[in-house]
């Protein structure tokens, strides 16, 4: 029903008047005073309400970072939980300003949905979760298996490619929400559960006996997960893109939420540019000159955000791996702020 309404809103928005120059997202956000952020319906570590009902997670923190940059207050965010299949319509129709919901960057999504991906907040790949007592050690032993997955995901297509390429039989059962999917897997309807490996680590926590299951070593796809905005609003696109770059650069320069205030006194020109004591980079973005400082002070740098939500000390226990800074052998690399 919700989907139908947003489809109608979407059809209405595009059908009734010539859109031409749409009102800039930045102006709308400033005038309403908060950012509407599309997240998942509950994926621990990425976007999940805690016991107090507050949203937490990497994707949630990213939206907070954008709010800190634009509105100077990281708490000025409202969240819209979205299923995998409803997420793009919600963004297209203007229901949300940013989609930050473990969404894989692919060419078709980037070029035919009227959307733009702003970067990669988490480099991931698809994997399989299976019961230990099935005695399977490799994904290549899965011929004939029933596979549970969620509709409207890249997962659904990757699993078809994988089984087809390896000439294996399979049966895929696709559910609308993550909870339904994991429940069906837990009850034994499927032999394997497949999604992004970060998602496996998160969803696994919802199983009756998480320790009875293992993640197979194969990674069958590339899943660069990142925030998405509407196509055609370059200013907003720049702001969201540079929010992540500021967090990555912040980590590289050792600026954290704890030492941000001291860093205002730093003599290092790179640090000065990022905290806004030198240069006027906020102007180019149409926001305050302390934008990056507010991000780092209120939300923290990329590494802090990672460790807090999905890192080794969290229930997800995900090692930095490919998400380490480029200087530490990982892929996180941001263009310079200058």
């Amino acid at each position: 029903m919700k989907r139908l309404i947003s489809t109608f809103a979407f059809a209405g928005a595009f059908g009734l008047c010539a859109v031409g120059a749409q009102a800039a997202t930045l102006d709308q956000v400033k005038s309403k005073g908060f950012i509407q952020c599309g997240v998942s319906q509950g994926l621990p570590g990425f976007s999940n309400p805690n016991d107090k009902g507050e949203w937490t997670g990497l994707d949630v923190d990213f939206c907070r970072a954008v709010a800190a940059a634009v509105l100077g207050d990281a708490s000025k965010v409202k969240f819209t939980p979205l299923s995998a299949k409803d997420r793009f319509t919600a963004l297209q129709s203007g229901d949300i300003d940013i989609l930050s919901r473990n969404t894989t960057w692919t060419i078709s999504r980037d070029t035919s949905l009227g959307l733009n991906f702003t970067g990669v907040t988490y480099y991931d790949g698809q994997g399989f979760l299976i019961r230990k007592d099935k005695n399977v050690n490799s994904a290549l032993e899965l011929s004939g298996a029933s596979v549970c997955t969620q509709t409207g995901t890249t997962t659904e297509q990757n699993v078809a490619d994988f089984f087809r390429a390896n000439k294996m039989e399979y049966e895929v059962i696709a559910f609308a929400t993550a909870d339904e999917t994991i429940k069906a897997y837990d009850s034994g309807r499927c032999d394997v559960y497949t999604t992004d490996r970060s998602g496996l680590a998160a969803e696994r926590l919802k199983l009756t006996n998480p320790d009875d299951h293992i993640v197979l070593s194969e990674i069958i796809s590339k899943e660069p997960l990142g925030p998405v905005v509407r196509h055609g609003d370059d200013q907003w696109f720049d702001i969201v893109k540079w929010t992540l770059f500021a967090q990555v650069n912040g980590e590289e320069l050792g600026i954290t939420s704890k030492n941000a205030d001291e860093m205002l006194k730093s003599e290092n020109p790179e640090v000065k540019r990022i905290v806004g004591t030198e240069g006027k980079f906020g102007e180019g973005l149409g926001i305050g000159n302390d934008w990056a400082f507010q991000i780092l002070k209120q939300v923290g740098n990329y590494g802090e955000m990672y460790d807090r939500n999905v890192g080794p000390d969290t229930p997800l226990k995900l090692a930095r791996g490919t998400n380490a800074l480029w200087t530490k052998g990982g892929l996180q690399y941001a263009p310079p702020i200058r």
Partner: protein
């Protein structure tokens, strides 16, 4: 007579603009033109704006490769099939649930509806409990109940419950042997067809005979014998061309055999039993609408209770039952879109779900999907209305 002539004369004198008939046609025409123009403008604008926003438009996507798998396909389909094919698979899966669901719901509904008026207290109580319980629980809840509490609780394929080693029930569904047709099957099919034709003749002949002589024939038994017997004889003569391939455990699942997936069973059973509760109430209302005098008259003519029900009460009750029954059938069909909650690949899941998400063509896909439900509804209504006209009271 004179009045009428005068009226016609007056009408012909007034200008045609004032003729109510012509005027109403003109207004309707004008309204239609405005709607078409608005619709056209809407489409044009939508197309231009979507293009400006870099969102794909048009129906060309139907020819692109779908690239995803579907767990139940009534026609051949693979990941390399097109979105158009996936759409057909979805439509057929929706129709399958609708047809099987309607069939089961009608039978249960009829029995429970009659049961609610039974003279037997226990039957009456059970029927009431059935209606009150199922009618008042949300259908989504009932679907999830059947899926998660009943079917998922079954053992895995290796520990399946087996009947005669041929039929298996597990949390992967219901697996029965697959019939394999060898040469000669054609004769058996012909024999079956022939049996049906003869059965129709027997039925109409015995009806005529009943009306002429008043002596009933055991038509049902004769026809059952025909329909089962003739194909059996044909099979024996052609040396039993139909054999069965038993399902076999291989790796994770069963190989061979025909599998009815648990998603289908859960959805169909839940919707059928849910809708049956409403149908039962329609049936009860219909029967109660037949005046008691009819029953008494039938009894005094010497008809037995079951005959009274079958020959006198139900045919008259049908007139009251059919119209609301139609809307129950439509409800069942529309409720089948709850399928996505349990991963049954119906039209909404496959087309308005996965396909929409992969192509992003929301407007086209939602329009097509609504069109399909509309067509299904209209066809159902036409069939039911035709039937209704046949049973309606013909005043003589």
């Amino acid at each position: 007579m004179a009045d009428l002539a005068q009226a016609t004369a007056t009408r012909s004198r007034t200008s045609f603009i004032n003729d109510p008939k012509i005027r109403s046609i003109l207004f309707q025409l004008a309204a239609l033109i405005i709607i078409v123009l608005l619709g056209w403008d809407f489409l044009q604008n939508a197309q231009e704006n979507l293009k400006a926003q870099n969102i794909a438009t048009g129906f060309g996507f139907m020819e692109n490769t779908a690239g995803f798998g579907i767990s139940q396909t009534l026609i051949p389909y693979s990941e390399s099939s097109t979105y158009g094919r996936a759409f057909l698979v979805g439509v057929l899966n929706t129709l399958l649930v609708a047809v099987v669901g309607i069939f089961i719901a009608t039978i249960i509904g009829l029995l429970v509806g009659i049961g609610r008026l039974s003279k037997n207290f226990v039957v009456r109580l059970l029927s009431s409990v059935y209606v009150e319980l199922l009618r008042n629980l949300p259908p989504l809840f009932q679907i999830l109940f059947w899926y998660l509490a009943v079917l998922s609780a079954l053992p895995g394929p290796r520990q399946s419950i087996s009947l005669f080693g041929e039929v298996f029930l597990s949390n992967r569904g219901f697996i029965v042997p697959r019939p394999v047709f060898a040469e000669g099957t054609g004769y058996v099919v012909w024999a079956f067809g022939l049996a049906i034709v003869i059965a129709v003749f027997v039925a109409s002949w015995s009806k005529n005979r009943l009306e002429e002589t008043g002596r009933p024939l055991p038509t049902f038994r004769i026809n059952l014998g025909l329909i089962v017997g003739l194909p059996l004889i044909a099979m024996a003569l052609t040396g039993f061309p139909v054999s069965f391939e038993a399902p076999e455990l291989k790796g994770f699942n069963f190989a061979g055999g025909v599998r009815v997936i648990p998603e289908f069973i859960a959805l169909t059973v839940a919707l059928a039993t849910y809708t049956a509760a409403f149908i039962a109430e329609n049936v009860r209302a219909g029967i109660m609408a037949v005046s008691h005098g009819q029953t008494e008259a039938a009894h005094s003519l010497g008809l037995r209770s079951s005959q009274t029900l079958r020959l006198v009460v139900i045919p008259q009750a049908m007139r009251v039952i059919i119209p609301p029954l139609t809307s129950q059938y439509l409800n069942l069909t529309k409720n089948s879109s709850l399928a996505v909650a349990i991963g049954y690949p119906d039209l909404v899941a496959v087309f308005a779900g996965t396909t929409l998400n992969q192509t992003g063509q929301a407007i086209e896909i939602i329009a097509i999907t609504m069109g399909v439900y509309l067509v299904i509804s209209i066809i159902t209504s036409i069939i039911m209305n035709t039937y209704n006209r046949r049973v309606a009271l013909i005043e003589r």
